[in-house]
Symmetry: C2
Subunit: 494 residues, 2 copies
């Protein structure tokens, strides 16, 4: 049993047992105990999340979650410019027993399980076309040739590969054919397999968007790649900065950047392809949120623009449901065989019956019909979100709403994302700060440039009523936090 | 594009492009071209499969497949004691265009797609309970809570974990509870995740059965482990030899060894657990074929004997169908959290609806009913196989028939597995030699001890009629091969 000790500050001794349950829970429990036992005294400063993550060898997100939980429980407090400190009166606090349940806070009313959950990346679960799916599975059990009940071709069902590439050509302006496609269990598996293949091809460094989707840095390092950040501005990934990294691969969300919501601009797209040609590089396109656009024409897939340079990754986790767990990788010939071999060795394949069912669902037109239906639901939610946010925070605070199911709410300069998130949690609203999406450098010296504080609002699975209530709670949380700071000018009045 | 050149013999120059399609096909094409162009002359000896695999950096199985294909096509011939040589009259042979299709052979009648396929590990596909499955999926779409349509708990559905551990306790004498279980997409994914976790725990070397299942050496090395062989005898894995390896982990098939069919004997089981305690080690139990026993009581899972030392891996690929793609890992607490984290980072999870459907199918009793039904089918096939093999080859040639869906047919000493396999292929019967299951050492110096020649006969998906025909073809193939050798005494008359 590996027990690792880390000394992260004058009084902080955390022992992790990697075999004994989630590391975040272990860290939480030990920090709580240290605070209760007065080993960590009131006002004492905790190490930065980056520093503690480095000391303990865990992801920064894990430590951020721990701090947010302790903040929500009142054990610690967050002061802008001064980091996280042990709260003044933490003694006698109730200790939650069930991980993940927010305990009663000494500051505010007892919190409940989140009534409004702005978590990013969850689609409308109440509208998943379950009856259509069930029928498609039933049809698949009748139509799938018996031989295909055996271990599949590791590239995936030929039928589904034909159907998804036809869909990608039609809806996403792609130009891949069935032989370029590999069926996977979703975006994440496709990414892991593609990165392992790039490593086999001698690619050593990959650039990631900063801010960008979580965990991708960890996944890249597991594949043996060095991960480096590239900033994102109002036109998407900064290709000039990408050139400076020396990376030969980049992973990005061009259709609707996660989490800022911007689309990669036309000249950036061309410049990105030029970069790939210059360095004999590869672009991994996370075609996230591409199906849902409101204010303008859909932007085609990068894969259609530069098929020899782009590995496109898609899934039905957002369009149908994560519980279907099917996706695809569209790859140039030089990488396709390697991705198939990685898949064969790591898991053999995806469920044959489900693949046939998805092919049938997409062919039948029911998949498109579902997309049209949920697009209208999302459009209505997005309109409510825009109106409520303007009423509560004033104009111009909400960004990235032209597409998809999330937006960015900019807070006033000087506001503490973490404190707002924690306060909102005590009032039944779950939301993430932009800071959660920052790149976690392996090298702790490489602190990223600070970004203006903001909240990431996923509204895929939040009703219009919940959006209204959630935004009002966030406005209250912002007011409370700025009052704590003694800076009432930080946000406009609601 | 990585192009690697390997010089494997006086006239053999093979260039592999790892981005340009399956490596086996590339090697095949180049060897064919070299023989057609007379760069490799008649009678010229090819490198051993082990040597060529090492030179090209591919798995030995890939080279074995290439040689078997070229043998079946008549480009090369195999002579006992003399290896593989370019055939005497290879010029003018037709060249197959579709990979995997056996081309017309100059020696025998034109071959057809295999009419009888003794491939190992395929269950009876004609009896998959598709209607039951379809109903279970339909029920799952109604009963699964909406929230569980989102990304799952990476450990898997709680419901399925409860059901499979209850099943494992009831049918396999296990003693795991739901919190010890991780749902995976099948045996192979479970293995990859478990091995990655062992590597994280500082385990550096794993012992594998020799002969044993294919690809496990490659999978172990991908996880960063050093893989070493341990011989298998009539009582299963030789634990004395395991002790000599210095490994702290072992992967084995105790219920029905793959491919020899023996069960791990009772004293071996105890000794294996003692070994694990001695070295603070871990036993990975591939609970393959455990559900099907004919002549004696089922042997319980090793997991029930030593839960703190055993990681048990199971799936429904053999009991239902590979196309369902669900399995489980039952792990001691020290490893369970790591396996979950590996799963979360590599693929997020298994399909939620399928997990619920499998839980419902198992709870309903329909899964057990299906097992009873196919057990009778397998028992009948096994009886036909035993009778036909005795008629064709004489008594005592067939081994490992007490359980499961495969058996081992020992050939006469001196017979060439490879030649028999190739000849049978030209007559529409697909079968593998025992040699395909030998351990491929990373160190080419470590040649394994030779084993008596044998064929591995999977009969899970072969009808009784096909078994009769297949065995007769094999007897003919053996006769032809021994005649080629000028040794008519090598096999008894049919």
């Amino acid at each position: 049993m590996t027990v690792e000790w880390a000394r992260g500050g004058p009084d902080l001794l955390v022992a992790l047992d990697r075999g004994a349950g989630p590391l975040g829970i272990q860290i939480q429990d030990q920090l709580r105990a240290a605070i209760r036992d007065r080993r960590l005294g009131a006002g004492e400063r905790l190490p930065s999340t980056r520093r503690l993550a480095e000391l303990l060898g865990v992801s920064r997100g894990t430590v951020v979650d721990v701090y947010e939980q302790l903040l929500a429980e009142g054990y610690v407090e967050s002061v802008v410019g001064s980091g996280t400190r042990v709260a003044a009166t933490p003694a006698g606090l109730p200790v939650p027993h069930a991980p993940g349940v927010v305990a009663a806070s000494p500051v505010s009313s007892p919190s409940l399980p989140a009534e409004v959950d702005f978590e990013y990346g969850i689609p409308e679960l109440g509208s998943v076309p379950l009856t259509d799916w069930s029928r498609a599975v039933s049809e698949a059990t009748r139509s799938l040739p018996t031989a295909e009940l055996a271990d599949e071709d590791p590239a995936g069902s030929r039928h589904l590969r034909e159907v998804v590439t036809a869909y990608h050509r039609r809806v996403r302006s792609g130009c891949a054919a069935a032989q370029d496609a590999v069926v996977v269990s979703g975006f994440r598996q496709g990414l892991a397999l593609a990165l392992a293949t790039l490593a086999q091809h001698g690619i050593q460094r990959i650039a990631l968007e900063d801010p960008g989707p979580r965990d991708h840095d960890v996944i890249a390092r597991r594949a043996g790649l060095d991960a480096v950040p590239v900033p994102v501005d109002d036109h998407g990934l900064d290709v000039g900065r990408l050139r400076e990294t020396g990376a030969r691969a980049v992973l990005l969300t061009p259709a609707h950047q996660c989490p800022t919501g911007v689309a990669l601009g036309p000249s950036r797209r061309r410049d990105l392809v030029a970069w790939a040609d210059e360095v004999d590089g590869v672009i991994l396109e996370d075609d996230y949120d591409a199906e849902f656009r409101y204010d303008r024409q859909p932007v085609g897939s990068l894969q259609g623009l530069a098929p020899a340079r782009v590995i496109a990754l898609g899934s039905v986790s957002k369009t149908l449901a994560p519980a279907i767990r099917l996706g695809w990788v569209l790859a140039p010939p030089r990488y396709a065989a390697g991705i198939v071999e990685e898949k064969r060795l790591s898991c053999r394949g995806a469920p044959g019956l489900d693949q046939e069912a998805l092919a049938l669902l997409m062919e039948s037109g029911r998949f498109d019909r579902h997309l049209r239906r949920v697009r209208e639901i999302y459009r209505a939610r997005r309109d409510v979100l825009a109106a409520e946010a303007e009423a509560a925070f004033g104009p111009g605070r909400l960004h990235g709403l032209a597409a998809g199911c999330h937006a960015l709410l900019r807070l006033a300069d000087g506001a503490s994302e973490r404190a707002v998130v924690a306060t909102a949690a005590t009032m039944g609203v779950r939301v993430n700060g932009l800071g959660r999406y920052r790149f976690a450098a392996a090298d702790a010296e490489a602190e990223p440039d600070p970004l203006p504080p903001a909240l990431v609002l996923g509204f895929g699975n939040v009703s219009e009523h919940q959006i209204s209530r959630g935004i009002r709670v966030l406005a209250t949380a912002v007011r409370r936090q700025t009052r704590t700071l003694g800076d009432d000018n930080a946000t406009p009045p609601p």
